[in-house]
């Protein structure tokens, strides 16, 4: 709970990018889950960089049906941050799996929420902390192909966390310096069609010492 409130304050309106200075605010216990074997790529956001409807078509992070035992109802979304995968439970011991990129913020919180809202080509308002770190960032950026939020966003409960697209598809499969849970634009568009508002979302980390 404490973490959520804290993060909300830090991140203001957007889940993208958190300043390095702000990371020191994170309680040790929460930070521990982002550590371990995780290597974080310090990738700055690239507003204005246009990326198409890329999907991960090949390799381990390509969308695929996998064996996945779960007592959750079909349709439930399960995110395993340490694995960099998002699953949609299909029932019958299977799930549809997508490769994701996980930012610092995505490692800070685990729990159960519902998809509270969905948005196509979401706008972006970088919070002041981000602008302090990356002064070149715009104060406001309308949704579109050059927007770091990508093609679609699923808002998680009343938190600042969201599952969104990206204009940096090469960051899929990585622990990155910013963002919550990002998918290649083609994949988030596919996911968006499958996940209605009200869908239960479960976010799991690996354990921390």
């Amino acid at each position: 709970m404490r973490m959520r409130d804290l993060t909300r304050a830090v991140l203001a309106a957007s889940c993208l990018s958190l300043s390095l200075a702000a990371v020191t605010w994170v309680p040790a216990s929460a930070q521990g889950s982002a550590k371990g074997s995780e290597e974080t790529m310090d990738v700055g956001d690239e507003p204005g960089r246009v990326s198409g409807d890329d999907v991960h078509a090949e390799g381990p992070y390509a969308k695929q049906m996998v064996l996945f035992r779960s007592s959750e109802a079909p349709g439930t979304v399960v995110i395993h941050t340490s694995e960099r995968f998002l699953y949609i439970v299909q029932g019958n011991g299977k799930a549809l799996r997508y490769g994701i990129g996980v930012g610092r913020e995505g490692f800070q919180w685990s729990g159960k929420v519902q998809v509270s809202r969905k948005s196509e080509w979401p706008d972006w308002r970088p919070p002041p902390e981000m602008i302090a770190r990356q002064p070149y960032l715009p104060r406001f950026m309308a949704g579109g192909p050059g927007n770091p939020m990508g093609a679609r966003a699923l808002y998680l409960g009343s938190t600042v966390f969201r599952v969104h697209g990206t204009n940096q598809p090469e960051t899929i499969g990585q622990a990155i310096s910013s963002g919550c849970f990002r998918l290649a634009n083609g994949d988030i568009i596919d996911l968006y069609e499958r996940v209605p508002v009200g869908t239960k979302v479960i976010i799991r980390h690996s354990a921390s010492l």
Binding site: K35, S37, G59, P60, Q64, M65, A95, S206
Partner: protein, 345 residues
């Protein structure tokens, strides 16, 4: 303990009966753990060469999932993963090598069956890879379930249990298929490659390895369905229960290590953790290792040697390896798989 006494009584009886069996029981009589400690190295039987499981490079260094398990056991005993002598074994001589004491432990993609325990006098210390028969199809076929394969042309190796499982699966699901059977795996793959069939069936781990041999591996996908049980795990002789226990609890330690978040990189932090289950794992409390004849930090040392289960899996078989096998059944019970280890306490 009662179990151990019974086993010893049985081997004593066997000794009275046949001199040959007496000889077999000898390595156990000395106690394999003591033998290993005195020798200063673990003799570990591995495959002669299998993608992801055990491979030797040009410099003679071994790597792989089964190899890392050997190193974890050596780590638990000696706190030194280098104290392993790898003994490459074929499928046909592996059990005799274990029974005769040529190796202390068999870590060689071996399926746990009743016959191998009760018939050969061996004991599987657990399951560290849940394999099973699956299907590889061309991506262009646009199938994502084995139940969509009605009418498929299926390539399979002739005279194998794989062929029998294939027949059972299609019959049980009232589906038809056309079979193309070949005596060798290379011919089976070639037939799949040149389009004679559009489905190839083998054990899943083998399918991922075979896929790498295709000119364009990305053109083929492996369906998530598993239609048979091939539980693989480390094997010891059945007449040395204390040694069996050492191997078994190293396997459990690797799985529990993942569950607790103990990694190769954070063993020092783990030793200083305040969490009770992590403290028992690291040997800071509980005195568990001593009961096995090891140092109390045996579990932590095993992880220090090879990493926890997830690290071993990802390094050799997982999405960041060449094979790219999804965790599937080999995921923790709490994360969609069936890996479940009893607690260290």
């Amino acid at each position: 303990m009662l179990h151990a006494v019974k086993l010893h009584a049985r081997s004593a009886l066997a000794c009275l009966g046949a001199a040959a069996l007496c000889a077999l029981a000898l390595p156990a009589a000395a106690g394999t753990l003591d033998t290993v400690k005195q020798r200063g190295t673990l003799q570990c039987g591995v495959s002669e060469g299998l993608y992801g499981f055990s491979e030797q490079n040009a410099q003679g260094q071994w790597s792989g999932f089964d190899v890392d398990f050997c190193r974890a056991v050596a780590g638990a005993i000696f706190d030194d993963p280098a104290k392993v002598t790898f003994v490459p074994l074929s499928a046909s001589n592996r059990f005799e090598a274990l029974r005769s004491g040529k190796v202390d432990l068999l870590s060689r993609n071996t399926t746990w069956t009743l016959e191998r325990e009760a018939g050969l006098g061996l004991a599987f210390a657990g399951i560290n890879f849940h394999d099973g028969q699956g299907f590889m199809v061309m991506r262009s076929l646009n199938k994502d379930s084995a139940l969509d394969l009605d009418g498929a042309k299926v390539c399979v190796e002739a005279g194998t249990t794989t062929q029998a499982n294939l027949a059972d699966f299609f019959r049980a699901n009232s589906m038809k298929y056309e079979e193309f059977a070949f005596p060798r795996s290379s011919e089976t793959l070639a037939a799949f490659q040149n389009g004679q069939c559009n489905v190839l069936t083998r054990d899943q781990s083998a399918l991922y390895a075979e896929r790498l041999r295709l000119p364009k591996p990305g053109d083929a996908i492996i369906l998530p369905d598993v239609i048979s049980k091939e539980p693989l795990g480390p094997v010891t002789r059945a007449d040395d229960f204390p040694w069996f226990n050492v191997v078994r609890w190293v396997n459990f330690a690797l799985i529990n290590g993942e569950e607790l978040g103990v990694t190769q990189a954070n063993t020092a932090e783990a030793a200083a953790s305040g969490k009770p289950d992590v403290r028992r794992f690291s040997g800071a409390e509980g005195g568990l290792g001593k009961m096995l004849g090891l140092d109390d930090a045996f579990a932590l040392r095993a992880v220090k040697a090879s990493g926890n289960y997830a690290e071993i899996y990802e390094r050799n078989l997982g999405v960041r390896s060449r094979l790219g096998i999804p965790r599937g059944l080999n995921q923790l019970w709490s994360m969609g798989g069936v890996l479940y280890a009893p607690p260290l306490r």
